[in-house]
């Protein structure tokens, strides 16, 4: 998994990346975008798929329904908004996750985190605030099917609103 990108992320054929990707639940290589170790982006990055940042991003990083992974070599000076955010590198900016944010032992984060679930490994360097609400629904999108007048209808609602919207279908 991700093996063909290994040298672009780590600058070498580091096999530990396979393990990292499994641990971070990143999808197959073909389904992920990559900002390689030698790449610097200034501006807004808007991703509609899981994305790995091994280079530098300055501006904003948005992947609302996807996973953003900041590799060890990643240097981000930007606010990050995503469904799942995992950080091994350096981030200066505010982080908003709709599902989970995890900071590994190698991560350095200066900024505020807002997410229902936040995990941090000992060794991580963090300065800022963490806004947690474990009861808050995650924002994953589920299809809901309902039957009305003999017709099957499908509507997309957010998982936390099933009770309200399903009853009104």
């Amino acid at each position: 998994m991700f093996s063909k990108y290994r040298k672009f992320i780590n600058g070498s054929d580091d096999t530990s990346l396979d393990t990292d990707n499994k641990a971070n639940n990143l999808g197959p290589a073909g389904q992920n975008a990559l900002v390689g170790v030698g790449v610097t982006i200034e501006g807004q990055v808007l991703s509609h798929e899981d994305i790995v940042i091994a280079g530098k991003v300055q501006g904003a990083l948005i992947a609302k329904n996807h996973h953003v992974h900041i590799a060890k070599s990643g240097v981000i000076t930007a606010d990050i908004t995503a469904k799942i955010i995992s950080i091994e590198g350096l981030v200066t900016g505010n982080i908003t996750g709709s599902e989970s944010v995890s900071l590994t032992a190698t991560s350095i984060v200066y900024g505020n985190i807002e997410c229902p679930r936040v995990s941090l490994e000992d060794g991580a360097k963090f300065k800022g605030s963490i806004e947690m609400n474990p009861g808050e629904p995650t924002q994953s999108v589920l299809p809901i099917f309902s039957v009305s007048n003999g017709k099957v209808r499908k509507s997309i609602i957010e998982s936390g609103q099933i009770g309200t919207k399903a009853s009104s279908l």
Binding site: V118, S119, L120, K127, E131, M132
Partner: protein
């Protein structure tokens, strides 16, 4: 005869971690209204166990590691009190309307001289309410050695302690009475002895208390 499993030896890169029993942590946590959103200020290094523990609550967890600030290593003795207060406010950077429910000072007072403690206490004042509860770890008396550790919350009855790596900053060891006199509107409500020559103190806002003669331990 079966041999016991061989335990891996601790290496220099793996700091020692241990659980430290606490008598006062449950009292501190028992005082706060966990039905509302809590505001917690942790003045130590961000610890996994603390994030995990408060992950069960609706809360804002603020980590401000004063020991990582340059003025701990090289304090500027030329600064006026007001300049120190401004410096502390810049480090705290709390929302103006925030009211702290739990303040975890850990052992930070031991790394600040008297002038910086007074500045920190004044800088914190807008965020303190009568409902604020605070926790401090201090040497049992001013002659005791202070272990160089970082602390977190493991559960209601235990701290998590991890040895720090690197040089320990200058320690300003104080007796309980000396500390109580420095923390102005806070007062040490009670203290308990913990291991390695240390004590834990529970602090509440109390502006009316007579601090001239108190001995809680």
């Amino acid at each position: 005869m079966p041999q016991p499993p061989i335990k891996p030896r601790a290496t220099l890169t793996q700091p020692a971690t241990k659980l430290l029993p606490s008598s006062l942590l449950s009292e501190l946590l028992g005082r706060v209204d966990t039905d509302k959103r809590l505001v917690i200020l942790d003045m130590g290094h961000a610890m996994a166990s603390t994030v995990r523990f408060f992950g069960e609550y609706r809360c804002q967890l603020n980590f401000i590691d004063l020991c990582a600030e340059p003025f701990i290593v090289t304090p500027d003795h030329e600064l006026s009190h007001n300049q120190r207060v401004i410096l502390m406010r810049e480090v705290l950077r709390l929302a103006p309307s925030a009211k702290i429910d739990i303040c975890l000072f850990w052992d930070v007072f031991n790394y600040l001289d008297d002038a910086y403690i007074k500045a920190l206490i004044e800088a914190l004042e807008p965020y303190i309410s009568p409902a604020t509860a605070a926790l401090v770890i201090n040497p049992r008396d001013s002659r005791c050695y202070l272990p160089f550790c970082r602390y977190g919350i493991a559960d209601q009855d235990h701290f998590m302690q991890i040895d720090n790596i690197g040089a320990q900053p200058t320690v300003f060891a104080r007796s309980q009475r000396e500390l109580n006199n420095l923390i102005d509107y806070f007062a040490i409500d009670r203290g308990r002895l913990i291991s390695e020559g240390r004590a834990e103190y529970l602090l509440f806002e109390n502006r009316d208390i007579d601090k001239t003669d108190r001995s809680m331990i």
